[in-house]
């Protein structure tokens, strides 16, 4: 018994430093935990304070209560979540069925096709040269390709009436297309302006209307040279393709006198 007590005592003596260490480290731990808790509490207090400042300022400046309103308007504008209907509760295929009336030609067009139709109708969009212009360019191109070699073939190949009128229109059309819109009835310019441009280029003969050359009768105006036209000064030169090259060529030809060779007026 005594020995057991002694051994117990000795073991206690042995154990005591170990226990001390654990107790101490436990104390350190609690200290550490306490510190971290305190630091955390300070951080939370800072955040709370920031929030209080924000709320107080917005309340005093009057914009704190802006988002919750009376029950009536909340219900009125509530978000709708059904199928087939948008969040306002409206069915959203309606506007596609509405038809619009074109102010230019007076036809009723579907809303989705209205903008391209208007482009073509007014002749003012990017790729929207009027059908007439396009057909004109096609007929001119096809005649231009064969112009140097066979004067007579052209008469045979193309319909007389059609190319006749296109040629006449070609003169005034190609010369006096507005740069912006390539239309010969461009709404940006008045008739007076067009007439004055015509006069400037063609002299007093420009006063005649578009189809005025018909007064010289015969259908075989094609194939005659520029100099044969009674109303056009001989310095006038034929014009091809785009308006820019037309202008450029016109200016060039005006500067250099043409030789006496017959100039074909096939456009």
């Amino acid at each position: 018994m005594a020995s057991s007590r002694k051994s117990l005592g000795s073991s206690i003596h042995f154990l005591f430093p170990v226990m001390e260490l654990t107790v101490l480290s436990g104390i350190f731990n609690t200290l550490q935990i306490g510190l971290t808790q305190d630091i955390f509490a300070e951080l939370i207090d800072d955040v709370c304070l920031g929030l209080c400042f924000e709320v107080h300022r917005s309340a005093k400046c009057g914009f704190f209560f802006l988002d919750d309103m009376d029950a009536e308007s909340m219900q009125e504008f509530e978000i709708v979540d059904k199928a087939g209907v948008d969040i306002f509760g409206q069915v959203y295929n309606q506007c596609k069925n509405r038809d619009c009336e074109c102010p230019n030609c007076g036809r009723t067009i579907a809303a989705a096709r209205f903008a391209p139709h208007l482009e073509k109708c007014l002749g003012m969009g990017r790729n929207s040269s009027r059908l007439a212009n396009r057909r004109l360019a096609n007929s001119n191109n096809s005649s231009l390709n064969k112009s140097e070699s066979d004067p007579e073939d052209n008469d045979d190949i193309n319909d007389n009436d059609w190319s006749y009128s296109s040629e006449k229109k070609g003169l005034s059309n190609l010369l006096f297309l507005c740069n912006d819109c390539r239309s010969h009835r461009c709404p940006q310019h008045t008739d007076d302006q067009r007439r004055s441009v015509r006069v400037f280029f063609l002299g007093p003969s420009g006063e005649v209307e578009d189809m005025g050359f018909q007064t010289n009768s015969s259908n075989s105006q094609r194939g005659k040279s520029v100099s044969d036209h009674p109303h056009i000064p001989s310095c006038y030169a034929p014009i091809v393709t785009t308006l820019r090259t037309k202008k450029h060529n016109l200016l060039n030809n005006l500067q250099q006198p043409r030789d006496s060779r017959q100039v074909r007026f096939d456009l």
Partner: protein
């Protein structure tokens, strides 16, 4: 007690110098907004303001009402993460 205060003071200083305190604060703010703590607190503020009347609310009253509630409402995950970060900081700088 003095030693304790001194210890805290030195820790705070280290935190600030390092820039760690600002980082911790930003992290805490972001987390609290994400978890909806800020909206809850704002709703609580609204009630308080409605009770007391807009004209009579002072900033001190607001702070004294809000802070204990704010402390209580912090979610555990946020708390744990931040405590962890603080502990690692203290360990790294061998303060304890």
């Amino acid at each position: 007690m003095n030693k304790d205060a001194q210890l805290r003071h030195s820790i705070n200083q280290k935190l600030i110098e390092n820039g760690e305190r600002d980082r911790l604060k930003e992290l805490l703010r972001t987390k609290l907004i994400e978890c909806g703590w800020k909206d809850q607190m704002k709703a609580h503020c609204k009630e308080i303001i409605r009770q007391k009347g807009l004209d009579h609310v002072t900033i001190e009253e607001l702070v004294t009402e809000i802070t204990p509630r704010g402390r209580a409402l912090v979610p555990d995950s946020v708390k744990k993460e931040l405590l962890q970060r603080i502990r690692t900081f203290l360990g790294k700088n061998s303060i304890i």
